[in-house]
């Protein structure tokens, strides 16, 4: 990231950029589309054009076979009438901004091409990103161009304007009409925005009787409630995995779906990395029901039902002698866990102050309190676990407040409801009957991102601006504030929650920019202007972190409360709800990249499923795809079963976010809604379920159908101890004849020679690289049916294998992209020389030369080549085309494509360096998209001729191996064998 250019802080700048865009795009059709878009209804949008499908134009002109220029199309150049400073056509610029999920902000850098955001990266200087991102952040940019977004203000189903709305609102929210506001309720998504908090204060002052409720569909309240139980105040726990040698995850997916996972992954993998056989390595224990990424990384994993985790924690606490006294152990958390608990306890005790015990957000508050006690007893508090005050308000009781809101609605106390963001009608506990309750209010105002269930239930339907379109701010989990600056003026009529809230609170329309800027300048006083610029440039506001809160628990008193709060697990089936790795709580359901990103564990695409253990499947007599009928307290859903090896028995894991009823084109009829099962009491874990085989079955589609390595040396794996004893262990795992070539080979000793090393010890298999690659390289989405036929297009795929028994397997993951073989089998078979080697060791793929015999793909032993079987870009909206990276050709049907180490980035940096008079690129200057996104820093890319480059150093490790080396393909991508650090006691 060589330069961060801040956006012109005038609110209208974005608009100007946007206006300039069509000129830059030189696309009259596009201009027409924009104009029409602002005039007419969205139904008109179903036009399919693929004008910018560059290669398609080639096809169209084929008839003229080279004579195209006889009738050369007149192509206009439309320069600006007035120049725009800072904008150089064709030169991407980068802006720092932030995105808030679950109330916590993460810093991002967004790349813009000619005024349109095209690629999201992490902000290297933001402590919760450190340059990396997760898959969802990568996909945010596609959400911006989602053609099914809520676009225009509606009253009921008829089109209206913001003026109309504000005209009504200024009256309805005037003291004359609303009085003290006791009839007003605001329901907003969890926010850590200081500006919004200030606006909320103004609103409360204006309407003391009104209530403002914040909620989370995927709730983290339990953790904070647990802290409240332990320390008397709701605190946010921060686990410093980079200081912990032993980590115990109790139903905690801190590497996966537990909120913002980038930082924990960064920290964890730092302790996991093995540079020499002597390096230390942390040890991870996991106890969980569903198989998560955290469980996959674990050195020891024990499968227990979610409701049994409390008992296990209690057993652990007892073993650790937390209370110093007698502890009541609940039930039997499973046969295997006894040995597990004692081994874990021993390990923890040996690493006092250098260990972490972490409970998942799904676990009840008592478990979190118990875990806080354990950490305290181990001396971890203050070392590896610190507490701060939470960044969200009402941190521990949002569900109760939502319930209160629903009750108020039902009792008719509420006249006006304002929903700011989210989709409460779909995500709130079903027993609240929120959609039904809303009808009791006189006026319902909903500001939503898409025309979702909540939008449909509202009277005033307001389009919410995308995070890249609006000013805002937010705090990272540790309190560090970021200003969220827009990268483009709203494409449609969207406004942010902050703008609407401010208008309602102040009784006048205000721009988001003014609200945010005036809040922060008021905080700074003197050097406000300079600090504002710096905050925008840095992507965060220096010095806003919260101080560490003192946290000390009175063990016996807390234990008493814990024992009171913990119940023994009930027998019978239980249901666990988890956020989907793709759709999350449904907010990414219309994001095609996320739908097509396979679930990291099940590899399921375009669906959710009811995950059950193999034994449970046998018991129920079901196979993958057979319907299950799941009943909880009289509520029932039907969902297709999927066998998840390593899942706890008698437990069903259901992912949220599917089966939406009011939804865009992407998520139409995708998956099964499990939301009807969620209740206030069983919002995350529902016990006492009745699970039966249902009638019929359903087609589930995965990107990987075979899950065993068939004893082949694909992912090489060993225990750390083994590696220490025999550092050359992996060199002997594959026996192949001497790799002698008939040919002399080519000299690759000069200049840049690109190579990649992927550390399988670090890789957590999270998909960030997959989506980053999709975004960078204009990779099409093909849809469920095409994936079923085996035609997914991902250039990098995340292979996942199970090893060991079906009941208790271990998992290894392996990112698999083009290996850039020096002796590439694909090259010699191409009849038209469309794929040949470059002087820098790249396996070039010239799409415009390819005729599509698919021979190269057949002959690729790694099967990483992707063929455009159909026109996969056909029918995508003009607006969605704006997401394309202009530096990468959009491939037409009939051509082969594959990873090329982001050659466009290599070229860009090489040209830049040369223009600056530099002879060589520095290591790390060129980052492939996958490398840049990877939170585990498992991927290293660079010049292997430079002995000091990161990739060269990794390749020098003894763990380094070439996949299928016996074929003598001499791949440039090599893997570093996977190490685990098992506890000898449990081995």
């Amino acid at each position: 990231m060589s330069e961060l250019i801040q956006i012109n802080p005038q609110g209208v700048t974005g608009k100007k950029y946007w206006r300039s865009l069509d000129a830059m795009e030189q696309n009259p059709e596009f201009t027409r589309w924009v104009e029409r878009e602002f005039q007419e209804n969205a139904s008109e949008m179903l036009e399919s054009g693929s004008r910018r499908n560059l290669l398609k134009l080639m096809a169209a002109s084929f008839g003229l076979a080279g004579a195209t220029a006889c009738r050369r199309p007149v192509e206009p150049i439309l320069p600006h009438a007035k120049g725009v400073e800072t904008l150089i056509h064709g030169k991407p610029v980068h802006y720092a901004t932030a995105v808030t999920t679950g109330g916590a902000a993460t810093g991002l850098i967004v790349q813009c091409h000619d005024g349109r955001p095209t690629k999201v990266e992490g902000n290297p200087r933001h402590p919760y990103s450190l340059g990396a991102t997760n898959a969802h952040a990568q996909a945010t940019v596609l959400g911006l161009y989602d053609p099914d977004r809520a676009k225009q203000v509606h009253k009921g189903t008829s089109r209206t304007t913001w003026d109309e709305f504000y005209g009504w609102a200024m009256k309805a929210f005037s003291p004359e009409q609303a009085g003290d506001g006791s009839g007003i309720r605001v329901l907003a998504e969890r926010s850590s925005s200081p500006s919004l908090e200030a606006v909320r204060g103004e609103f409360a002052k204006k309407f003391p009787g009104a209530q403002w409720v914040e909620y989370d569909s995927v709730s983290f309240d339990n953790a904070r409630a647990g802290a409240e139980m332990a320390f008397g105040q709701a605190l946010e726990a921060h686990y410093q995995f980079d200081k912990a040698d032993v980590v115990v995850a109790l139903d905690a997916d801190f590497l996966g779906l537990d909120a913002v996972s980038v930082l924990p992954v960064k920290q964890f993998s730092k302790k996991r990395r093995v540079d020499t056989p002597e390096s230390g390595m942390n040890r991870l224990y996991a106890a969980e029901a569903n198989f998560t990424l955290t469980g996959a990384m674990a050195d020891h994993r024990v499968r227990v039902r979610a409701s049994e985790v409390g008992a296990l924690a209690m057993a652990l606490a007892k073993e650790l002698n937390v209370s110093g006294g007698e502890l009541k152990v609940l039930g039997n958390p499973g046969g295997k866990s006894e040995k597990f608990v004692s081994a874990v306890a021993k390990d923890l005790l040996a690493q006092r102050g250098r260990s972490v015990v972490v409970a998942g957000p799904r676990q009840p508050a008592a478990v979190h309190a118990l875990v806080a006690l354990i950490n305290q007893a181990l001396g971890n508090t203050g070392e590896t676990v610190v507490y701060t005050r939470p960044v969200v308000s009402n941190p521990s009781d949002s569900l109760a407040r939502v319930k209160q809101l629903a009750d108020d609605l039902k009792s008719g106390k509420v006249k006006t409801v304002v929903v700011l963001g989210g989709n409460p009608v779909y995500t709130l506990p079903a027993d609240l009957g929120f959609g039904e309750a809303l009808t009791k209010a006189e006026s319902v105002v909903a500001l939503t991102a898409d025309e979702n269930e909540t939008w449909q239930a509202a009277g005033w339907r307001l389009p919410e601006a995308h995070v890249f379109e609006a000013w805002g701010d937010g705090r990272a989990l540790n309190g560090l504030a970021s200003v969220q600056q827009p990268l483009i003026a709203p494409l449609y009529e969207g406004k942010s929650a902050l703008e609407v809230a401010a208008a309602l609170a102040r009784g006048e329309r205000v721009s988001g920019h003014d609200v945010v800027k005036s809040y922060w300048t008021s905080q700074w006083g003197g050097e406000a202007a300079k600090r504002w610029q710096k905050a925008l440039y840095d992507g965060f506001v220096e010095g806003t972190e919260f101080p560490v809160a003192p946290a000390a628990a009175q063990a016996p008193a807390v234990l008493a409360k814990v024992q009171e709060g913990l119940k023994a697990a009930a027998d019978g089936w239980e249901v666990v709800f988890y956020a989907s790795a793709s759709a999350w709580d449904g907010r990414y359901a219309n994001n095609a990249w996320m739908q097509e990103a396979p679930d990291p564990m099940t590899k399921l695409v375009w669906d959710n499923a009811a995950l059950i253990s193999p034994a449970s499947a046998t018991e129920l007599g079901v196979q993958d795809g057979d319907y299950l009928t799941i009943k909880v307290n009289g509520r029932e859903v039907k969902a297709p079963a999927m066998v998840q090896p390593g899942h706890a028995d008698k437990s069903v894991s259901l992912s949220l976010g599917y089966g939406r009823t009011a939804c865009g084109r992407v998520c139409k009829d995708v998956g099964h809604s499990v939301e009807p099962l969620r209740t206030v009491a069983g919002f995350q874990i529902a016990a006492g379920a009745d699970v039966k085989k249902g009638s019929g079955s359903y087609q589930l589609v995965t990107t990987q159908e075979h899950h065993s390595m068939e004893n082949r040396p694909i992912v090489l794996e060993a225990a750390l101890a083994e590696y220490r004893e025999h550092p050359d262990h992996f060199k002997h795992m594959v026996h192949s004849p001497p790799r002698v070539s008939m040919y002399q080979g080519f000299d690759y000793s000069q200049g840049y020679q690109w190579g990649m090393a992927i550390d399988l010890t670090s890789c957590i298999g999270c998909n960030a690289c997959v989506v980053a690659c999709q975004s960078e390289n204009n990779i099409p989405v093909v849809g469920k049916d095409q994936v079923r036929r085996g035609r997914e297009m991902h250039w990098i795929r995340m292979d996942r294998y199970y090893t060991g028994s079906e009941e208790d397997p271990q998992v290894v993951t392996q990112p698999m992209a083009c290996q850039q073989c020096e002796n590439a089998p694909c090259e010699s078979v191409c009849p038209v020389a469309a794929t040949v080697h470059s002087a820098e060791g790249l396996n070039d793929m010239a799409y415009n030369r390819c005729v599509g015999t698919r021979y190269c793909a057949n002959n690729c032993p790694y099967k990483v080549r992707r063929f455009n079987f159909l026109e996969y870009h056909k029918g995508i909206e003009e607006s969605t085309k704006m997401v394309f990276n202009p530096d990468v050709t959009v491939r037409m049907r009939g051509v082969m494509e594959k990873c090329n180490y982001c050659v466009q980035r290599i070229q860009e940096k090489k040209i830049e360096a040369k223009a600056q008079g530099r002879r060589t690129l520095a290591d790390g200057e060129v980052k492939s998209a996958c490398e840049q996104a990877c939170p585990a820093e498992a991927i290293a890319f660079g010049n292997i001729n430079d002995p000091e480059s990161r990739v060269s150093k990794l390749k020098k490790q003894q763990r380094d191996y070439e996949l299928l080396e016996e074929l003598n393909t001499r791949p440039r991508t090599t893997y570093l064998a996977k190490l685990r650090n098992p506890n000898p006691e449990l081995a």
Binding site: I714, D799, G852, R854, L870, G894
Partner: protein, 454 residues
């Protein structure tokens, strides 16, 4: 047992031979011909519709996927090319070996070659994602604008040369053989239009002794050229697979194995067609049981070779101790495509064993049914080699499965329609039996009989 049964029976004269063969082209064809042509043309129409849909929509209309980049397309290509081989074999190799029994079947067999190669040629062209580019990029034409050339190291490039050479040489060979017979038709022609058409087509052939001298040498040379050519074509087709790294493909046995398989399937197709034509046109005296029996012997021999190759593959996979190779072959027999494998074994290895018995070798219904079995089996052989090798190769993560779509089926059935259309038109309008060659055989036979009589 007669040592050397006559190849032309029924005491036919030269004029009888002319009359018998030429009359077919001069009289109105039987009703069945029209029915058959109607059906064939309909199917050929299905082919063109399928190809049109394919070109306008993409390869995705077929079942091909990743990892099975080639499915029915290349299977059908190899199958059709293989079928073609019998024609060349009969006309060239048997000619060189002075096998006189070839004469009554070589013309139709050569025509079959041409039409089979035409059907085969459709696939390499249309299996590409962008056939409009493949059409001219695959031939080395000077290209100043791009400065790009083909990759002559690619087996597909070799295919381009092999198949186009094969098609050209076969057409030349076939047409050279036709010239004297076209002259016969010209001289028999009753209408001006037939006179002109056959007159033009026969180039003014007179059958002068000097013409025959050059002609015979040309024919001999073409036969001599076609013999290594026909062996090379299927060898080169097999290189598509043999030079790759995929287990199940990467096999040195492929060239002879493919050639044997090609002859096997080609003879089966000749039997299928000749038995039918013989029945419809009453050609029992020209295509005798002796001809058919000889073909059954060839099928038995080549079937055994193919069976031996199947066994060798398994042995080598085991002997190589290469786990990927071993798996590939175990997977063929016991994996998801076990049914294809065992269909292949049943049709190709078991069914020709009946030909050990003269009773079956000389039974028209038995050989007809078995020839169809062999054609099916040989199709499965190619499918097994292509699809089962591809669907599970090195990394289990990329394993997949191939299922054909309706367009796969319609394209394949369509090529049969095209083949039958061309073949029926050939039967109707051109001498289906080499008149002059049969007369040569008859002359020799007459002399031999005289010799016996003396």
């Amino acid at each position: 047992m007669e040592l050397n049964p006559p190849l032309v029976t029924g005491g036919m004269t030269y004029a009888d031979v002319t009359e018998k063969v030429a009359a077919i082209t001069e009289q109105a064809p039987p009703k069945q011909w029209y029915v058959a042509l109607g059906i064939s043309m309909l199917l050929a129409g299905v082919l063109f519709a399928s190809l049109g849909y394919l070109v306008t929509t993409g390869i995705g209309v077929w079942g091909n996927n990743s990892p099975v980049g080639w499915g029915w397309d290349i299977t059908n290509f190899v199958w059709w090319i293989g079928i073609g081989h019998a024609g060349t074999l009969i006309s060239a190799i048997l000619f060189l070996f002075r096998q006189r029994w070839r004469t009554s079947i070589n013309r139709a067999a050569e025509a079959m070659t041409l039409f089979a190669v035409a059907c085969a040629g459709i696939y390499p062209l249309f299996h590409t994602g962008r056939p409009w580019r493949a059409a001219y990029w695959l031939f080395p034409m000077p290209n100043e604008a791009l400065n790009m050339w083909q990759n002559f190291r690619s087996p597909l490039m070799w295919d381009v040369f092999a198949v186009s050479t094969y098609a050209t040489v076969s057409a030349l060979f076939w047409y050279v053989g036709l010239i004297p017979d076209l002259a016969t038709l010209r001289d028999r022609a009753k209408t001006r239009i037939r006179q002109v058409i056959f007159g033009v087509m026969s180039f003014g052939w007179r059958g002068g002794a000097r013409q025959w001298r050059h002609y015979e040498l040309a024919y001999l040379l073409l036969a001599g050229l076609s013999t290594p050519l026909v062996l090379s074509v299927h060898s080169i087709v097999s290189f598509d697979f043999a030079t790759s790294v995929i287990p199940g493909w990467h096999t040195t046995i492929f060239p002879p194995y493919f050639v044997a398989g090609a002859i096997f399937s080609g003879f089966a197709m000749v039997v299928t067609l000749m038995v039918t034509a013989r029945y419809v046109y009453n050609l029992q005296n020209l295509i005798t049981i002796k001809h058919l029996e000889n073909m059954c012997k060839v099928m038995l021999a080549t079937g055994m070779m193919v069976g031996f190759a199947y066994g060798t593959e398994f042995f080598i996979a085991w002997y190589s101790a290469n786990p990927y190779e071993r798996y590939a072959f175990v997977n063929r027999a016991f994996g998801p495509y076990w049914w294809a494998y065992w269909s292949m074994i049943l049709c190709n290895v078991i069914s020709p064993q009946f030909f050990w018995f003269k009773r079956f070798r000389t039974s028209i219904p038995v050989m007809f049914v078995l020839s169809i079995f062999i054609n099916i089996g040989m199709w499965f052989e190619r499918f097994v080699i292509i699809a089962t090798s591809l669907h599970r190769d090195f990394l289990p993560s990329s394993w997949g499965y191939f299922s054909p779509t309706i367009i796969d089926i319609s394209t394949f059935v369509g090529t049969m329609g095209l083949f039958m259309t061309l073949f029926l038109l050939f039967l109707r309008f051109l001498p289906a039996i080499a008149i002059s060659e049969v007369k040569g055989v008859l002359h020799q036979q007459i002399n031999e009989q005289k010799g016996v009589a003396h």
